[in-house]
């Protein structure tokens, strides 16, 4: 029923984005890295406070260290690129954690943009997992007021998965819950 709309390439990339954890060794050219970052910064920000910072990691030794420190981070053993999505928690009013939402929207933009450029990636959670968070953040050297929300491991994929499709009707509610 919805087939016509799937011809739109952007819809195709959104539905086609899957978590890819194996990568070929080819580097990602700097122009693409810059585009991924611009797309990250294009995500909306609550009250336009823009709390986000990004750390680009391409050094093999640093990627290997992160892959070892992160208990689900094996993707960084082969990915030539990782982007750590960080939030300066002092930008929001005390107790307002909307920076989590900003960081997540930006991470998703990176992953859709990557797919559109022929790259693949996986979203690795960092915050709120222990001791993962304590092991990963010192490698990145972030100050104490900055939270590492997630790391996107990125590169040219060395595995393929079928696109997403369809929705669970149980999760859609129309005009009222139920």
């Amino acid at each position: 029923m919805t087939a016509n709309f799937h011809i739109d390439p952007t819809i195709g990339f959104i539905l086609g984005r899957r978590s890819i954890r194996k990568f070929r060794s080819e580097r990602v050219i700097p122009e693409m890295v810059t585009t991924l970052l611009e797309c990250a910064f294009s995500a909306p920000s609550a009250h336009n406070r823009r709390p986000l910072h990004f750390i680009v990691i391409e050094d093999r030794a640093a990627l290997d260290a992160l892959a070892t420190a992160h208990d689900s981070g094996a993707a960084m053993k082969t990915s030539p690129l990782a982007i750590a999505v960080c939030a300066d928690t002092t930008v929001m009013p005390e107790g307002d954690m909307a920076w989590v939402e900003d960081a997540a929207a930006a991470t998703e933009n990176i992953l859709i943009a990557a797919r559109a450029l022929g790259l693949e990636g996986v979203w690795l959670k960092v915050m709120d997992r222990h001791p993962r968070e304590e092991r990963v953040t010192p490698i990145l050297g972030v100050p104490s007021h900055v939270k590492v929300v997630a790391i996107a491991a990125l590169g040219y994929g060395d595995e393929a998965k079928d696109p997403h499709g369809g929705v669970s009707e149980r999760r859609i509610h129309r005009n009222v819950w139920g």
């Binding site: 391409e58 954690m97 005009n175």
Partner: protein, 175 residues
């Protein structure tokens, strides 16, 4: 063709918050595609904690608009998708529903822009008093968290795409 001419990159950079809408409704098939895109966002350990309440009834749209300090535009929009999380679904959902639902929300907004619609993300979770109010309007159970509202319609304003990286926010190999 340059990287920035890629249609999807243009859709991501071109998505801006749109707050003025035409009256015409959004076709139900288009709404389904938006929800499909939202559902395609990744979730922690595939916990899939998101629910979507599609609101098209004028009275409910007006009710949501009426008591939220930043949702006045909803009174002239034909569609809202209220993005909710189910934190008690699993341990992963409890920790990460908000990140996962935010990714779903961003997919929905980028998809909307790609299909010629405009929209804006109205925050609920961190806006004092809004979560219980919206639960009541839509009959959402207390155990369900309300992330925010995607207000969607055909835009009556257009804005320049985003570009560039703000000074001081990019760090290479370490902070």
């Amino acid at each position: 063709m340059g990287i920035r001419d890629n249609g999807t990159i243009r859709a991501i950079l071109g998505r801006r918050s749109v707050r003025r809408f035409e009256e015409r409704p959004v076709d139900p098939e288009v709404v389904n595609v938006l929800i499909e895109c939202a559902s395609a966002a990744p979730s922690a350990a595939n916990s899939r904690p998101c629910h979507f309440v599609v609101v098209t009834e004028r009275g409910k749209l007006d009710a949501i608009a009426g008591g939220h300090p930043y949702a006045k535009m909803l009174a002239s929009a034909p569609l809202a998708v209220v993005v909710c999380g189910e934190p008690d679904k699993s341990d992963f959902a409890a920790r990460y529903w908000e990140e996962d639902c935010s990714a779903a929300m961003e997919n929905l907004l980028v998809a909307a822009h790609a299909l010629g619609l405009g929209g804006v993300w109205i925050g609920v979770r961190h806006q004092p008093g809004q979560e219980p109010r919206i639960r009541e309007i839509l009959g959402i159970p207390d155990r369900i968290a309300v992330l925010g509202v995607a207000v969607i319609g055909y835009g009556r304003e257009s804005r320049e795409p985003h570009s560039g990286i703000p000074d001081g926010t990019l760090h290479l190999e370490g902070w």
